[in-house]
């Protein structure tokens, strides 16, 4: 079981709730995948008077833990305000903290991220920061009070997979006891499996499922990949080697 801030979550797959063809298809995708956590954005939907309520009620009805996010925030202040609104709306102190630094790549702004994380943890939030694979940023986030890190696989919505394998291995090794989720950039189940094989605790994705021709089928595909990848990690896989190692003995055959 994956544990985030002391809460055990049954599935290591987290799904976003944006961009599905309809809320009904979104609900199907959750059902078929068994995803344990739903992330949901509030910044743009809130309007002037919680106008997004009808949609948020549908999310609450999914029966999974809700992780509200600060998607669409570009500054510390916006993110903090949005987090407060999310806490009230969903009655949770969990917040997935996104502070976007660059419009085109949607890369997180690490400086604003650390600052916002500090403010929010001091205010009692349990912060899930969307960050890069940078070790120093990771360390600063932990110092700010975060107990979870969410490094990106690749830019949001790109479907490129794990674009810096070395960096991700390195951050996993650097903080072996911290719950870590690969967030964003995954396009295919094989990429999710690869992340799980590397020892990440969970993966979070949205576009890959929401924009698939059959979102529910893709969600199930990801769910199976996440399970397979984690099994492989837990099973302590063999080490790769340069030479062939025959699985049947060669005794009795001539060496040529």
């Amino acid at each position: 079981m994956a544990t985030f801030y002391g809460t055990e979550v049954s599935s290591r797959l987290m799904l976003g709730t944006a961009q599905y063809p309809s809320p009904a298809i979104l609900a199907d995708a959750f059902k078929r995948s068994g995803a344990g956590i739903a992330t949901v954005s509030v910044r743009r939907e809130a309007g002037s008077d919680k106008a997004g309520n009808a949609f948020w009620d549908l999310i609450k009805d999914l029966g999974v833990a809700v992780l509200p996010n600060t998607a669409g925030c570009h500054s510390v202040r916006e993110a903090v305000t949005t987090a407060h609104m999310a806490r009230e709306l969903f009655d949770t102190d969990w917040i997935k903290l996104e502070v976007i630094g660059h419009m085109d790549t949607l890369q997180p702004d690490p400086f604003a991220l650390v600052e916002a994380a500090k403010i929010l943890t001091e205010d009692g939030f349990k912060v899930f920061p969307y960050t890069t694979e940078d070790l120093i940023v990771g360390e600063k986030l932990l110092q700010a009070g975060c107990e979870v890190l969410m490094p990106w696989g690749a830019p949001i919505g790109s479907g490129l997979g794990l674009s810096n394998i070395y960096g991700l291995r390195s951050i996993r090794a650097q903080f072996p006891d911290i719950s870590m989720v690969i967030d964003a950039g995954l396009g295919l189940p094989s990429q999710a499996a690869a992340a799980m094989e590397m020892g990440f605790d969970a993966v979070l994705l949205n576009t890959a499922v929401a924009k698939a021709g059959d979102p529910a089928l893709m969600a199930e595909g990801f769910a199976q990949a996440v399970v397979s990848g984690r099994m492989a990690y837990d099973a302590d896989p063999m080490e790769p080697r340069d030479m062939a190692a025959p699985s049947t003995p060669l005794i009795g055959k001539a060496f040529l």
Partner: protein, 328 residues
Amino acid sequence: MSDPITILGGGIVGLCVATELTARGVPVRICENGDVPGPQACSWWAAGMLAPFCEGESAEEPVVRLGQEAADWWERQGVRVIRNGSLVVALGRDRRELARFARRTDGHRALDAHAIAEMEPDLGGRFSEALAFEDEAHITPRAALAELWDGLVARDVEFTKDQPTSGRIIDCRGLAAQDTLKDLRGVKGEMVILRSNEVKLHRPVRLLHPRFPLYVVPRGDGVFMLGATQIESGERTRPTVRSTLELLTAAFALHPAFGEAEILEIGVDARPAFPDNLPRIRRRGQRIFVNGMFRHGYLLAPAMARQVADLICDDLKPEMMDEDHGEW
């Protein structure tokens, strides 16, 4: 014939249902608090694309099938239907979006740069690939609503602000019916109307973009409608800077001359939608609800009006009916 049926709401659904019923000799009156047609109806802000095949990219099958009735229906009401098809393009780095769109839709033909320039000279040299959906059409929404209104007035249909207290009712109030239809939600949409004498387009053009999909619908006389955002919010006011920026940026990307266009209007409303974004007919007692057109008002209201009329006149159970507790 007995007392006229009261139709609540003078938006696209109310007017289409009234038109279809009066054409079959059923007397109706329309109860609407605002002007008919008027900006209180979300159909006032619509694009008027009759593009069932393009919509099939993300909509369920009934939208594609039922939507194919729309162009002929509108033409029968005397509305000018422009049957020039529609065009789908993508900017260089999003070209793969075009392949995805093609895989998920029917009824299109691939165009190369030369064919694009022939079809829409102003887009010539700007795009190397496109999809043409030649069996699609578009109309001008406010003119279409006015045409329906004229037709109903000519048939002596009464328009009233007085709420009915009893009798048979067809509830076409759109999002306002949330007070009774608990699974109805609003999906906010923002749009912009521009005027440019530098750009000429003959058909709606969709610009595929992973984050800011946009369409531009030519309304004639240099007027263009840019649409539309789709935000999970029931807010019917307050077009935001971000949304407007997205729409205008996408228009500028489609053709830089839009940079000098005049902004005529910025509009906003929320579309009524059920969880699967498909429309529904429901009968409860003496009230029939027709609702949940989502982004398909002009495309689906004709088919929904036909189904309601089939129910009332011939007792045929509508395909899109999901609840019937009627004592009609």
